[in-house]
Symmetry: C2
């Protein structure tokens, strides 16, 4: 971002935050908002395509709307001062109101269940050491030699540990705690601090960042937190972010910095909850998809955006926390779980670990549904993975009234004899439709026949057995899920034919991914022993709808398990016990990767799976 300041005292103020910054003439309102720390949603990557970044210019001058903006907004919108913040440019002092529907917000927290009991035995270790006293006539060994005798596995010494060694020994009256990371001495502390030792597992999702703080001495989770991934302001999906970064180091760094600062805020929050100092955190384990892992480490993700989608790296990295500006103990380390390929990332590796499918009998399939869907299947020790570009529809993007899963989002839809009824997160007045609400709406409308298996709306005349109230909701634009009068916004909330098409595209991608993968292994969906559904989204969908619209294969519901945030759970396993970490690295190295992009069989599966029917292509 530019550092150019105007010299005319112009400012941009954001309401209701009340944050004011110097205006830079010609930058977009969104760029100004970003500088001000006001995070406006931009799922389309600031291309003016999604129309999600509306703001109201309360006072001051902006440029004339472009053709793109004219298409997205109505004359009434313009009259009310509404603009798309990604297109509208600052031309003088401004006061801008940012509605909640255009912002990131905290969302429901996903659970992390571990597949079995894990004893604490972390990568960083604390060892209590008493250093004997040197004497002129006998033992003249250096302080460090004495220390090394007590931690014989240490092969390398961090300078910073040695720099404070003298004072630590003196103030600890020769009793000190040595902190090691693998075979490296990374710190020394006065006295006995063995019990004060924390680590944090972090799952950097495309949309949400989650953290789990673990007491590494006991293995207990002591705090958890989640926050929207602020990179969303640069694009909702990985492709938009890769486009944003281009091959420019400063943009890669910008994306790294925003996610790092949100992680740091989360770390401070968790440390406060657990009543510890951030200096007691010696270790971070990070998971995320391959692009998130690249950006988290400040590595250019450009090659992930173009065929053949080859990543710069896949392996597990160990990096000093200081180098990444992660606010834990300055000598602490950050480790990433390994990636498998350009589109099967460390998050899928985490799911592999937390679902424990390699150790389970039969054909085990795990699907991590996020902005992308990764599928991993295992049979008799063999593991195969693929990735289906699901897109952010399940996170509310590309859906006309879509929004993230935050207060006011419709998350449940029910049709009974009387009418169609909705419930919302936090029971607030409806503001839009989140991912699980989209599935519910399509599922229910499909169940009663309003939506046909092709995704088309049924002929009104053919519809029987539905109430008048429901019938009244069906318009040329689509189905009104909530009337403006009942909403927290001025418009009806509608599910359009185009929205249904989006759901079909996403669910077809996921279904086809699963089908391709098990076909590669010589099976059909009917052979599935267990289907594990991971991802925050998965926690909230109704499995019957998922099955009936053919999002997942048509198998008995008792075979379907919902894991919650399994990627985060995998990272937690890795931070709790280093042998688990090693196991995870080894198991990731074994996974075969199937590239779907160039495969014609995938296209066939995909076309078949577009039908909104249970197990549509098994028949």
């Amino acid at each position: 971002m530019s550092d150019i300041k105007n010299d005319m005292g112009m400012t941009v103020e954001f309401l209701p935050d009340g944050v004011k910054i110097d205006a830079i003439e010609g930058e977009t309102i969104m760029q100004a908002a970003r500088r001000a720390g006001v995070m406006i949603d931009a799922p389309c990557g600031e291309h003016g395509r999604c129309g999600k970044c509306r703001v109201t210019v309360v006072e001051g001058e902006t440029d004339e709307p472009s053709v793109t903006e004219m298409e997205k907004l109505t004359p009434a919108d313009f009259a009310a001062g509404t603009r798309l913040s990604c297109l509208a440019k600052v031309q003088g002092s401004l006061i801008v109101e940012v509605p909640n529907t255009s912002r990131h917000d905290t969302r429901r927290k996903a659970t992390t269940a571990l597949p079995y009991h894990i004893n604490p035995d972390s990568y960083t270790k604390k060892t209590l050491v008493y250093l004997s006293v040197p004497s002129i006539s006998g033992d003249l060994r250096s302080d460090l030699s004495r220390l090394r005798d007590s931690v014989p596995f240490v092969k390398e010494i961090d300078l910073s540990a040695m720099q404070c060694l003298y004072n630590v020994i003196a103030s600890g009256n020769r009793t000190i705690t040595a902190v090691t990371a693998g075979n490296r001495l990374i710190g020394v502390e006065s006295g006995d601090t063995v019990a004060v030792h924390y680590g944090v597992a972090i799952d950097v999702g495309t949309t949400t960042v989650a953290g789990y703080m673990v007491n590494l001495a006991t293995g207990r989770e002591v705090a958890a937190a989640s926050t929207p991934n602020p990179q969303s302001a640069f694009g909702a999906d990985v492709i938009s972010r890769i486009e944003y970064a281009g091959t420019q180091c400063d943009k890669v760094e910008e994306l790294r910095e925003v996610v790092t600062s949100s992680i740091n805020e989360m770390l401070y929050t968790m440390a406060e909850t657990a009543d510890i100092s951030i200096c007691d955190i010696y270790e971070i384990t990070m998971v995320g998809n391959t692009c998130m892992t690249h950006l988290f480490l400040g590595v250019d993700p450009h090659s992930l955006g173009q065929s053949p989608y080859v990543p710069v790296f896949t392996e597990s990295m160990t990096v000093p926390a200081e180098e990444l500006e992660i606010c834990i103990q300055s000598r602490g380390v950050v480790r990433t779980l390994p990636n498998i390929s350009g589109f099967v990332g460390a998050d899928a590796v985490g799911v592999l670990a937390a679902s424990n499918i390699k150790a389970r009998p039969g054909l085990q399939v795990a699907v991590d549904i996020g902005t992308n869907a990764e599928v991993v299947a295992s049979y008799n020790g063999r593991a195969v993975a693929c990735s289906a570009a699901a897109g952010p529809a399940f996170e509310g993007a590309r859906i006309s009234c879509g929004m993230r899963a935050q207060p006011g989002a419709i998350d449940r839809v029910k049709i009974d004899d009387e009418d169609l009824k909705v419930s919302t997160i936090a029971d607030e007045k409806p503001l839009g439709l989140c991912g699980s609400g989209v599935i519910e709406a399509v599922g229910e409308l499909r169940r009663v026949g309003i939506i046909e298996s092709t995704g088309a709306f049924a002929d009104m005349d053919d519809l029987t057995g539905i109430s008048d109230k429901l019938r009244n909701r069906i318009t040329d634009d689509g189905v009104i899920l909530a009337y403006a009068a009942d909403c927290g916004i001025d418009n009806d909330i509608i599910l359009t034919t185009r929205d249904v098409r989006e759901v079909q595209l996403v669910k077809a991608a996921i279904y086809a991914g699963i089908s391709m993968l098990i076909e590669t292994m010589g099976f059909t969906p009917s052979h599935i022993t267990n289907l594990h559904i991971a991802g925050a989204f998965g926690t909230y969908i109704n499995p019957e709808h998922a099955l009936n619209i053919g999002l997942i294969p048509n198998i008995p519901l008792e075979k379907v398990h919902f894991l919650g945030n399994a990627a985060g759970a995998g990272a937690k396993m890795a931070i709790m016990n280093n042998k688990e970490f090693d196991k995870i690295i080894a198991s990731a190295a074994d996974v075969e990767y199937i590239e779907l992009a160039g495969d014609t069989a995938f296209s066939d599966h995909f076309m078949m799976a577009m039908l909104l029917s249970p197990g549509c292509e098994d028949e």
Copy 2:
């Protein structure tokens, strides 16, 4: 140092430099000079004891002189505006003239001879790599996997190397140069840069810092430089600096920073000489005594200043250059040679390597004469070392008219039938007496009988066969070496009885160290096969005088070798070839250390060695 600024516009200006800084009321002129980057000599550690830091206050106000200052300066001095800059305090705006005699200056450069031919094979390596092109249908490995296949010895990856990998591959058209340090990938460069690879060996002496830049591809030295160790402003010897540092981290850091910045200046100078970029320097090897090694790494040397003189560490350290703020390639590494004990440092280890005494037959003794004298002896594979606190007399300190070996210093003294004659460095008018001049003066005066073996001046009446001119030089204060009229200063340059006593103390310490060491090994000085004298000072002394006043044992002169800066040569061997480095580490681990401090036999040797006679105690 304080950052408090006065708000009255007071300044201190230093002449002839013309550097002006804001004045801080109450700080000493020396503290102000240090802030201004004007390096005033303070061999006594700013205690007002040595009187070497004289400056002239040309204009402005200072405080009243203290009793200490009154003792050191005459009323005439005060009348001329002369003050001791370590005591005189700033009380308002000042203009201060700093004479050359109170400053650090560059000095004669010592040579570094290697004991045998060494093939280049450095710790950091450059490997040319061509990365094959990935394809969607076949090889989908990551960039890093491809790279690792070409450098299979790589076990760890620096994040910074990975962060730029994508762009380096792109701009190098898939031909890149991998830079490794041991089994760690530290950098990648576009195209073939294998031939552009430099390292620098640095010898941080208590008084002088020397650097030798080597082309690591060819093994050739391409530049050399030396500069005074600016830590001298905090004390001439290690003990004064340890006292200055106390146990305060900020003072340790201050001492680290000053030496680092002088090293950085030297690096820029050498890079300019060799016409390379400092980014082409990937490696530094550092030697120095144990205290210098501690301070260079920012490690508290406090324990070296008190019995039992145990160091914080002795082992060889490898540290990222960035962490030490050493201006080479930011991903480069800095390695220190190992120390042996609190007072036998990495410099002695360098001497051990460059003298190659362990491989030579017979009883081999190497002495490194610096501010301290380290002695290493070897016989039949066994090596023993000790340290004698010689003190900085041979560097001009504690000698009444002493000065460092810089232009105007008397470095040669010759007595013939006519008179006593002196020559100076750079043939300038005499300003004082440097170390080799002191030895020459004592040696010559001893030879003609003016100084007796006890160090006392002979009775005037007993002196025969000396010219009147010479006789006239002998006064109650001592012997006039140069008359004020011939000098660049206003006073006669005199060698006093006290100066002779200083020489006796220093040479006795060195001699007793040698004697003790070979006695421990079961020998007497007459068994010495070769005596190797290292250190810049050693290069300039007359071996006959060294022998006649009993600075070194009384052995045939052909057995005495002068090595020049052998510590620096050892560092050069280590940087040229990593197997040499490993050999040096291994040979240092074998050396037995003899602590002289508590030993009564040492006191006996020392007392005997006070006599100014050849091989004084062998008789």
